[in-house]
Symmetry: none
């Protein structure tokens, strides 16, 4: 029925294959870790031949780097929207927390890959991950700083230290959650407690 169905199929197949590989890689990396994952496992999970992966990625490292970049990019985009919204600063922080945990709740494997592999020691990976990580911290720090300037938050705390602390706290919560049974309600509750803890800690009195 569709007139250009074949053309569509053709044009769509390449990116579609790239995506299948990335999705498969996220799953397998999350399950076995980067080093323990064989390229052939990714290929099998993606339903492509081993060699096909090398049509879309330079090598195994490149697959991981791409997951980082596109995953954090995705997080950053939403994060920026929240950070620049018209909401109160308290609500923005709460939404950042929920967002980060919530988004990842839907993408548990991506969370695992990003948090687990963020600290891989391969210098190459650190090179790629660190700047993106810093951008992430900076957006949160921006909300804190704005809140301080607007009188919502106490002014005696360094915004970037607060941001790092918040990020670390969420990271640890996610990690524990990922390592454990990981039921969504537990995560939601943890998010609420964490938000309350930080907001009380930040409040201007």
């Amino acid at each position: 029925m569709a007139i250009h169905s074949t053309a569509k199929k053709r044009k769509g197949s390449a990116p579609e294959k790239r995506d299948r590989i990335l999705k498969a890689a996220i799953q397998v990396f999350a399950k076995n870790g980067f080093y323990a994952t064989r390229v052939s496992e990714i290929a099998k999970a993606a339903g492509v031949a081993d060699g096909t992966i090398y049509l879309y990625f330079k090598n195994k490292d490149d697959v991981l780097i791409t997951i980082f970049e596109e995953g954090i990019e995705q997080l950053l985009t939403i994060l920026r929207e929240v950070a620049e919204s018209e909401d109160t600063f308290e609500n923005r922080i709460s939404r950042i927390i929920e967002l980060q945990l919530g988004l990842l709740e839907e993408q548990r494997d991506l969370a695992e890959v990003i948090t687990v592999n963020l600290r891989q020691s391969s210098r190459l990976l650190k090179q790629y991950a660190t700047p993106l990580f810093m951008q992430y911290i900076d957006v949160i720090a921006g909300v804190v700083r704005d809140g301080q300037n607007e009188g919502a938050f106490r002014k005696d705390l360094n915004p970037r230290i607060v941001a790092r602390s918040l990020f670390g706290a969420l990271d640890a919560i996610l990690l524990t959650w990922a390592l454990g049974e990981g039921d969504p309600p537990a995560l939601r509750k943890a998010a609420a407690h964490c938000a309350s803890l930080f907001l009380e800690g930040l409040r201007q009195r």
Copy 2:
């Protein structure tokens, strides 16, 4: 007293060699990560032959596991002393923060190995390390719980979520510090801000 000092030396040499291997392993694991570290590198750094490592450890995994066990044990011992001291709860938390950052400042490599490698290691290793990690969290959570029971901290926060958050925050601060220039005063300032943030967030009003 012992006339034959050589005999004494001999008796002492075995554990001493084991220690040298562990110390060397901590260094190279911290620098290059577990997977990128060659057993021969550990041997070289320890000044022993490759094979010697297998006289003291079952295999490469076992070296990492031992570092975890003994490293966290060491941290736990000091942590418990603080946790069970007679100080105010606020001070105990502050001291825990300073302690953790302070101790790790002296043992940066151990910190790096424990936090970095816990995440990048294989499933098997992770399962092994997680309980030890949980013990650590539990000690901190104990202080929070006691503080709640004694009326020093607000009661509406789950102590383990607080503990995880605190641990994660400190971890992130350390990581950034380690990735950056890492001067001790900056770390000390970060510790103070972090302590203030959490204590205000925890305070019973």
Copy 3:
């Protein structure tokens, strides 16, 4: 005659494409050697798709074999003309030398492919190429033999050994020339010295 020039073009395009592939292959084989040459490189140099090569040749080996066959055939044709000319035997030898070096000077890459790849190729290929090589030697040997029979050359030398020696000498001269700066006058001078050496060595006294 043909009204539809496009049809003509079409008919002519296939051989033309085959030639482009062969020419491209000669270039890249000469530059990088048979094994280090990728089929895709040949395709790119020829301006065709990878798969197109397989419409004209059975496989990569077949491309090399074809180059041998047609290249040596080409050399043989000219060589036979000289060998069977009415000139004196000395002049025929001289012309063979000039011809070989001269022809190759214009077709350096073909020379490189024939001499270099004959040696580095697999047993199978070698077996295939050797008889063609032998035909070449035989034509030269024929001139020597005829010269001996006619009393121009000494009779105590095996014509095929002389032919092989001459071929080898020219080959070595070309190789050195190709490895060095490779200016034509130097090659011409070398040809003259080589001719004089062999003709004096062959002369009937």
Copy 4:
């Protein structure tokens, strides 16, 4: 009975293993060519594990390079002795011919590897082989030059062109011999004819 037999065995085993690998490599390279030879084949032929090869050589290329270097070194040493002997110049040339062919007659595979692979296109190999090849040519050219200066050889031929021609002639003879059935008497006869051809060609009249 030998007092130091074990020590001897220990010390002797490493070079002995290296030699076994080189000998095996010469055989397999000669039979299948460099590119078609698998490292595992060399290992199997040498009676060692695959990995052992990498204890003595950097990689597969390095094995070939070593064969070149040590093989030509061996030839050069003997060649220089002949070149600097007190014999007549004619005899020195004859002995050079016999020597080169004769030595290789005993080391057919080495001959095959050196002549077959001398022209491998790998730039790396060319780098290594060319200078050694030039040294070889230079020693022969030296004999020719001395012969010219002493009045034994005609002075109108460039010694290096003569040397290259002689080397090429011998190379071609060896190649044909190696490709064919290769019986020693045939080679000996070829050597005699070749010597006669070149000496007549060189003679001062």
